[in-house]
């Protein structure tokens, strides 16, 4: 296969969410001495952008976006050891979950998929997660951003607690905290001292870009 064909393979495998094919194509790229940066920018990034676009237009659905993001991640894992400098590096690490007592996770899953599609490394901590677990995990993994999702009125106090714990543990300045979901609002974010509120999954991406000083 020539370079063009390999890049096309990468493009298609990510678009189709085929992890096995994406890994194979990434390996072929390395074997053919295509630079990792070129493999990413020439094959994978356009594919994942296409996925994001189609999702926005309602032509692609959550499961497809999730499997595409997975295929992209799988291929990146193959390429990563060969990066030079910070080429291909992720934009930043984001930890996301739904707070204690709340099992709503649809919105959270969409936020995660869109952040991944937009180049963030995302750790999904799950739903119904204890406040202390959010903080401990964030510190352990050294994430830049903590995203809190909550759909119940009873979820609001949990968000305040998490910020309080970050404060008490003396690590508040090391993590940005963003919140989202029905009962949350900009006013509530201000009240509890969160760094941002996002009404939609798209605004979650904008917020992360903004907070990490990345031009979108």
């Amino acid at each position: 296969m020539n370079e063009k064909e390999i890049l096309q393979q990468l493009y298609e495998s990510v678009l189709q969410g085929d992890s096995a094919k994406a890994v194979e194509a990434a390996q072929q790229a390395l074997d053919a001495k295509i630079s990792p940066l070129k493999a990413i920018e020439g094959g994978m990034t356009p594919a994942i952008q296409e996925v994001g676009d189609r999702f926005g237009k309602g032509e692609m659905f959550l499961p497809e976006m999730v499997t595409s993001a997975d295929a992209m991640e799988a291929a990146l894992e193959i390429l990563e050891p060969f990066f030079e400098g910070d080429e291909g590096a992720k934009k930043g690490k984001v930890l996301i979950g739904t707070v204690k007592g709340d099992i709503h996770d649809i919105g959270k899953n969409i936020v995660i998929a869109l952040l991944k599609v937009n180049g963030f490394e995302v750790i999904d901590i799950g739903r119904d997660i204890a406040s202390t677990d959010f903080v401990d995990k964030a510190v352990d993994l050294g994430v830049e951003v903590i995203g809190l999702s909550g759909l119940l009125t009873t979820s609001l106090p949990m968000m305040r607690d998490i910020i309080q714990i970050l404060d008490d543990d003396g690590v508040r300045d090391q993590h940005k905290v963003i919140i989202g979901g029905g009962p949350t609002s900009q006013e509530y974010a201000d009240e509890i001292g969160a760094d941002g509120y996002g009404e939609t999954a798209y605004s979650a991406v904008q917020l992360c870009n903004q907070l990490l000083g990345i031009a979108s």
């Binding site: 499961p63 099992i103 649809i106």
Partner: protein, 461 residues
């Protein structure tokens, strides 16, 4: 209803472990195949399709998928399976008609079919909308209980309790749930309908203990009232929800199983959500030993979870038709409106939900609801419920063809602002709250919308 109580309890921790992501992402490819195999097609011009054969094929597709896929349990990461014979054993032995409530306030649920002239049950109430606690909460509930078309009352959610935040798994949450149901009992008594059946998903019950704590003949849920137990989207449950169901059933409280198949979610487009929803209806009914399944399709683009998106209406309609044509098990239609009290849009949305539910063989409600929280506390009133109830009565016996025509006309009224509706008003602004009398301005809007519907051929009395 005798479900497969012990089979469920036995199977929740049997079999191989299945990882959640694998369970979730394998749904879409399979429902796509099933949609082709059973020829299920969404048609935007027909939110209420008039196609018996497709309804029957959807039932068959749901049955095949329910048997094949099973229900995933969060705590154990195992899948509960039932055979087709077991599912039929439950459906075939489902006993109807069923009577709910006490004394003069009793109501009866009869099995219905699409276009049936058998009266649907109307379950009216705020169904989870945020509201002020105490006397205002009681007034909200009285407002719904005083609507004569309301057969069964559904609760709202107090936004706080005794002036304090409600935290899940906290003592205050249990206290709140007990208060909440006590206020509903007070409201039905003060409204002269002390025996009115209650349909309750306590807002102060993010966790199971408060839900369990409200079963109490004297001041809580009585035998024969309803308690909600939801499934997790898609095709999932957990111990918390199964515990609510077991507790309710063994105390003589009916279980209403709520499901939220998602359009644009794990099941993909409307066709996938419909197949998934049909499978969920079967599995939820059995695992919870339910008396009714309440369907609440969610659309990915509507943050408020409104049930009035064109695609959502279609999913509601086809699942309703599939079940009412193929078994006696009743389906209710959660009514979640995007707009808020005081607007024209909220009335069009209420009307359309009633039209879809009733013409498709379902029962109406619980609803109207939709309010998430935050600034929107108290933005709900009995007038939306009146639109829902009166329209449900009027649509009874209407052909799907005619119902579809009316639904499409209603859609034209609110679809342009769906997802970004005009701001509404609070009950306190729309009513004389002490006397619970609706103010002229709000009543006039109601009359206007009703007159328009009547003009289009809605046979209101």
């Amino acid at each position: 209803m005798p479900g497969l109580h012990f089979e469920m309890m036995e199977r929740v921790d049997q079999g191989p472990r299945v990882r959640e992501k694998e369970f979730d992402t394998s749904i879409f490819p399979r429902v796509k195949e099933l949609a082709e195999k059973y020829d299920i097609k969404y048609d935007p011009a027909h939110p209420i399709p008039d196609d018996d054969a497709m309804a029957d094929r959807l039932f068959a597709a749901g049955m095949e998928y329910a048997v094949e896929k099973g229900l995933w349990v969060l705590d154990t990461q195992k899948v509960v399976h039932f055979t087709e014979a077991e599912i039929w054993r439950f459906l075939d032995n489902f006993h109807t008609p069923l009577t709910f409530g006490y004394g003069k306030d009793q109501v009866t649920l009869y099995p219905r079919k699409p276009e049936s002239d058998v009266r649907p049950l109307v379950i009216g109430g705020a169904a989870g909308s945020s509201m002020t606690e105490g006397e205002i909460y009681v007034k909200h509930m009285m407002n719904f209980a005083l609507e004569p078309t309301n057969d069964m009352i559904a609760n709202g959610n107090p936004a706080w309790i005794e002036g304090r935040e409600i935290r899940p798994f906290s003592p205050n949450e249990v206290h709140g749930a007990i208060q909440e149901v006590g206020w509903i009992r007070e409201a039905i008594r003060r409204s002269g309908r002390p025996g009115m059946p209650m349909f309750v998903a306590p807002g102060c019950a993010a966790s199971a203990p408060p839900a369990v704590a409200i079963i109490n003949e004297e001041r809580g849920l009585r035998k024969g009232d309803f308690m909600y137990a939801a499934l997790l989207t898609e095709l999932k449950s957990d111990y918390d929800r199964l515990i609510r169901a077991v507790t309710a059933v063994e105390n003589g409280v009916h279980v209403a199983t709520l499901l939220a198949p998602m359009i644009g979610g794990w099941a993909g487009p409307p066709e996938g959500a419909a197949i998934c929803g049909a499978a969920e209806t079967l599995l939820g009914a059995i695992c919870h030993s339910s008396t009714i399944v309440v369907n609440h399709p969610v659309h990915m683009n509507l943050k408020n979870g409104a049930t009035t998106h064109r695609q959502t209406l279609w999913v509601e309609s086809v699942i309703g038709q599939a079940f009412s044509r193929n078994c006696r098990f009743p389906i209710g239609q959660n009514v979640f409106l995007d707009a808020r009290a005081g607007t024209y849009e909220v009335l069009w949305e209420a009307a359309v939900n009633a039209i879809v539910a009733v013409s498709s063989g379902q029962h109406t409600g619980p609803g109207p609801s939709g309010i998430t929280g935050g600034d929107d506390v108290d933005m709900i009133s009995g007038i939306e419920m009146r639109m829902l109830g009166e329209t449900s009565r009027a649509v009874t016996g209407m052909s799907r063809k005619k119902a579809n025509e009316l639904a499409v006309k209603c859609l034209e009224k609110y679809e342009p602002t769906l997802g970004n509706p005009p701001k509404g008003k609070r009950l306190q602004d729309l009513y004389d709250i002490e006397k619970l009398k609706v103010k002229e301005e709000w009543l006039a809007k109601f009359k206007e919308v009703k007159a328009q519907l009547k003009d289009w051929g809605m046979p209101y009395r």
